[in-house]
Structure formats: structure tokens, C-alpha cells
């Protein structure tokens, strides 16, 4: 039975006012502006955007300020915002092969067409805190004549020799699944898994990816390529009769190359895991590609023995907004539920006492 209880309006209003005060903090410290967050906390913005599943850097920055820097709260705010807007449609698939590359590395080939470009990376930094950056300007980046050399995807290079499985195509008559429109129905096709992973929690996917490296569903991965940069978003405009470029978005792509599979019909080939994430999010893209490969276990006839290979387990728990909703709902009033539990335990104890007295 539900008993409606009212109360707490004043407490809630005052709590929100207190939150606004604590969010603002010491009034003698200048208030943050959106452009400061967008420019100087760019990777936090990218994460809020990626897991919020909405590409809009200013909105993600606003969410970060409003959430006092709590990333999952910010992601929640971004997700809630997207439900207020109409959907115009679906873009043409982005072409990561035509990316304007800002970083591109391969752990499988030293000399590859287009070269290895480190870009703005934390790699090779000493991870020593540097107080001198606070309030300081930075030197302008070095430049070097780039030339017109193409940088094909590493997997395409391997593909030319047939050493690696092809990208694969959508099965005849299949539509692209969209988990924002239809509830998930297991087992899933890879398209829906990739959508879920792309918006999944970085920490969760990182832990699962790590677990595969430690032997829980081992896949023998190599980073074929990581590339970060901007791609065009083309959108078909019915009133024009052709697709136009809406602008560019930055994405991170990871091609994980994994150990072989073959069959009676197909000679052994490297298998693959794929990661694609909004913004600059290399760790997330790598984790996603590891988990994508692990989740293809059934497709390759591998035994499902580890959590990272269990599609329903992984996809049902990868969304941090869903997870936080269910975990955090525990703090909402459960007074009536708990009253029932109290009654039950009192009765059980009475029975226990009764039995003991009878035995004596």
C-alpha cells in the first residue's frame, strides 16, 4: 500500500538555494565562464558530451558548472536536455578515413603512410605536478610543413592483403538499431552494442577492458591505430535533394587488432574491436574497442567465460545515468517498505523466542 506523505517543500527550496551558494563558493573568487571551461577543461567537457551522448561543447560546459564538476551529474543533465529537443533525423555515416588528423599513432607499424603524429598527448609527460602553469600563458605550438601525404586507416592497409577481417556490412534488410528509440532486446546486433558502448561509462568500460588483458576473456590486442581529429557531419536535406555539411565534430577512433580466427572457408585473419567516441577521449575509445572485441565472442565461436564477454551483463550496466538512477534511488524515502521489513523481523524474532522457550 502506498501512503502519500507530503512535506519538506521549504527544506527542499532552502537546500537548492544552499546548493547554489556552495556552487558559487567564495564570492571574492571570479565566477567561471563557459568559455573558460570549454577552452581549459576540454577533456572533461568531452567526457560529459560523449557519455551525455550529445555533441555540444557549450552545453556540456554548462552542465559541468551546474554539477559543480560532478561528471556523472553533468552527464545526467546533458541527457535530460536532449529529451527536450526534436529529432531532425540521422546523419550520413561520418568518414573517419577523411579525418583532419590531430593525433594518429599505431603500435603495430612503425613506418606507416601519413606517419605517427603524437598530437596534444599526455604520453611521455612525467606526471609531475607543475605549479608554474597556474595563471600562465603557453608558448605557441611549433609548426612544420605538413605536405599532402594521405593517412589511410591502418586496418585498410592490412585489409588490402586480406590479413584482417573486413569492416563488415549491414545485413540485408536490417535497419540500424537506435537504443534511444527502442528498448534493448537481448541478444543485440553489433550496431546497438557500439551505440551503447559509445555512451557507456568510461570507468566501467576501462575496468572491463583491463579485465580482458588480465585473462578474463583474453583477446591478444594490439592498437592498430588511434586517430583523433575533426570529421564532417553530412546530413541529407529533403528540401534541397542533397546532403550538406552541417559542420565538423571532433572524434576519437581506436582500431584494436586481435588474434586470429579462421574457418574451413576462410584462412586465418586478425579479428578486430572498434572504438569511436565524441571528442578527445583516447582511453575511452581504447576501452570500448577492447570490450567490443570481447563481446563478439559468440560470433567467433569463443567460450563465454568472462564478464566482458557477457553482452547482457556489460550493456545492461554500462550506462552511468541508469546506474546512478537505480543506486541513488535508494536514498529516497522507503519508509513504508521499511515499516513492512520491521514488522517482519519483529515477527521472526518473536517466533524464534517462542521456539527457544518451548525447547527449554
Amino acid at each position: 500500500m502506498y501512503v502519500a506523505v507530503k512535506g519538506g517543500e521549504a527544506a527542499i527550496a532552502n537546500a537548492h538555494r544552499l546548493l547554489a551558494d556552495r556552487r558559487r563558493g567564495d564570492r571574492t573568487v571570479p565566477a567561471l565562464r563557459l568559455d573558460q571551461i570549454v577552452e581549459q577543461l576540454g577533456l572533461a567537457v568531452d567526457r560529459a558530451m560523449g557519455e551525455g551522448s550529445l555533441y555540444d561543447r557549450e552545453l556540456a560546459a554548462l552542465a559541468l558548472i551546474q554539477a559543480r564538476g560532478d561528471l556523472i551529474e553533468a552527464i545526467f543533465l546533458v541527457r535530460a536536455y536532449r529529451t527536450t529537443l526534436p529529432r531532425f533525423g540521422y546523419s550520413e555515416p561520418i568518414d573517419t578515413g577523411a579525418m583532419r588528423i590531430e593525433r594518429r599513432i599505431s603500435a603495430t607499424f612503425k613506418d606507416l603512410p601519413g606517419g605517427q603524429m603524437l598530437g596534444p598527448t599526455f604520453d611521455y609527460t612525467h606526471r609531475l605536478l607543475d605549479p608554474s602553469i597556474v595563471g600562465a600563458d603557453a608558448d605557441a605550438p611549433m609548426q612544420r610543413e605538413a605536405g599532402d601525404e594521405e593517412a589511410p586507416r591502418v586496418t585498410d592497409l592490412l585489409g588490402r592483403e586480406g590479413l584482417i577481417e573486413a569492416d563488415g556490412a549491414l545485413a540485408e534488410g536490417e535497419d540500424v538499431g537506435d537504443l534511444t528509440r527502442e528498448p534493448l532486446d537481448f541478444p543485440l546486433n553489433r550496431d546497438l552494442r557500439l551505440q551503447a558502448l559509445a555512451r557507456g561509462d568510461e570507468g566501467f568500460l576501462l575496468a572491463l577492458g583491463y579485465s580482458t588483458q588480465r585473462g578474463y576473456g583474453r583477446t591478444h590486442p594490439f592498437v592498430g591505430e588511434i586517430r583523433i581529429g575533426e570529421v564532417d557531419v553530412e546530413f541529407d536535406i529533403p528540401e534541397l535533394g542533397f546532403a550538406v555539411n552541417l559542420g565538423r565534430i571532433r572524434v576519437t577512433e581506436c582500431q584494436m587488432v586481435n588474434q586470429f580466427k579462421g574457418s574451413a572457408k576462410i584462412p586465418p585473419q586478425f579479428t578486430r574491436g572498434y572504438g569511436l567516441v565524441f571528442g578527445q577521449a583516447e582511453r575511452k575509445a581504447m576501452a570500448m574497442s577492447l570490450v567490443d572485441r570481447a563481446l563478439r565472442a559468440k560470433e567467433f565461436g569463443e567460450d563465454i567465460v568472462a564478464p566482458a564477454q557477457d553482452e547482457e551483463f556489460v550493456i545492461s550496466h554500462s550506462d552511468n545515468v541508469q546506474a546512478t538512477g537505480f543506486v541513488e534511488h535508494l536514498k529516497l524515502p522507503h519508509y513504508v517498505d521499511f515499516q513492512a521489513e520491521l514488522d517482519l523481523i519483529r515477527r521472526m524474532r518473536a517466533e524464534f523466542e517462542g521456539k527457544r522457550e518451548a525447547a527449554e
Binding site: D56, E58, D167, D191, L194
Partner: protein
Amino acid sequence: MKTGLSPEATARKHALDVLATAPAKALAERWDAYGDKPEHQRLRGPETGLVMVRGRAGGGGAPFNLGETTVSRASVRIVTGEVGHGYCLGRDLDKAEAIAVIDALRQRDASRIEAEIIAPLEALALENDATRKNETAATRVDFFTMVRGDN
């Protein structure tokens, strides 16, 4: 992507591509500097909505839904009757409306729009892209082999 567009459609697409990609500030400066803007009537919007961005498994395989992006759009009719459409990423309604008016105007006076708005914005984009590309190129790794002594 559609292929075999007519020359006019190709030119129109090119202009719309450049306008959408242009930074809002640079576009506004060009548009502000453009004399005799026509009166226009709003047919739809300007309004903001979402487009679901698609990727492809493995980069070139089956499409999947990566996540949404904000998009603004506007459709207008200028006094001389031409209808223009503007689309761009983000929530900048003024930018979408300006693109729509420029698109309509381009159907009347393509050469002036090309010369005063599209070409300068494209040049700016090329310059910015070249700078970024050269900054990235400076981080390119030049591998060299350590030659061991022969003793």
C-alpha cells in the same frame, strides 16, 4: 552521399558547406559587411533540434548510431521570392537564419555572394586548417636507427 549533382546543386552545396563550417563570428562579420540585405520572411524556424550522428563499425562497415548533436536550421523567403535553407551544428539560431538568407540570395546573385562571403570564409577555413595541420605535423615522429659500432 548523393553523386551526380547538377553544377548548380554542386555550387549550392559547396556554399552551404562553407557557411555551416565557418565560425559564427567570421560569418557574422562577413554578413554584417554585406550591403543591401533583402527583407525576408521566415518559413520555418529558426529552430534547434537534434541530428543523430552515425559512425561505421571498423570505420567503413555497417552504420551505427554514435550519439546526437545539436543542429539549428531555418528556411526563409526573401522579398524577391527565392527560398533559402540554412543548417549548422550548434544552437546558434542567428547563424542558421543568416545561412538561409545567404542561400536564398545566392540564387539571385551567386557571383557577389561567392566573392564577398563564400570565398573569404573558405580561405579562412583553409588557413586555419593548414595551421592546425602544420602544428600536428610538428609532432610527427622521425624514427632513426642507432648504428652500433663495428667492434
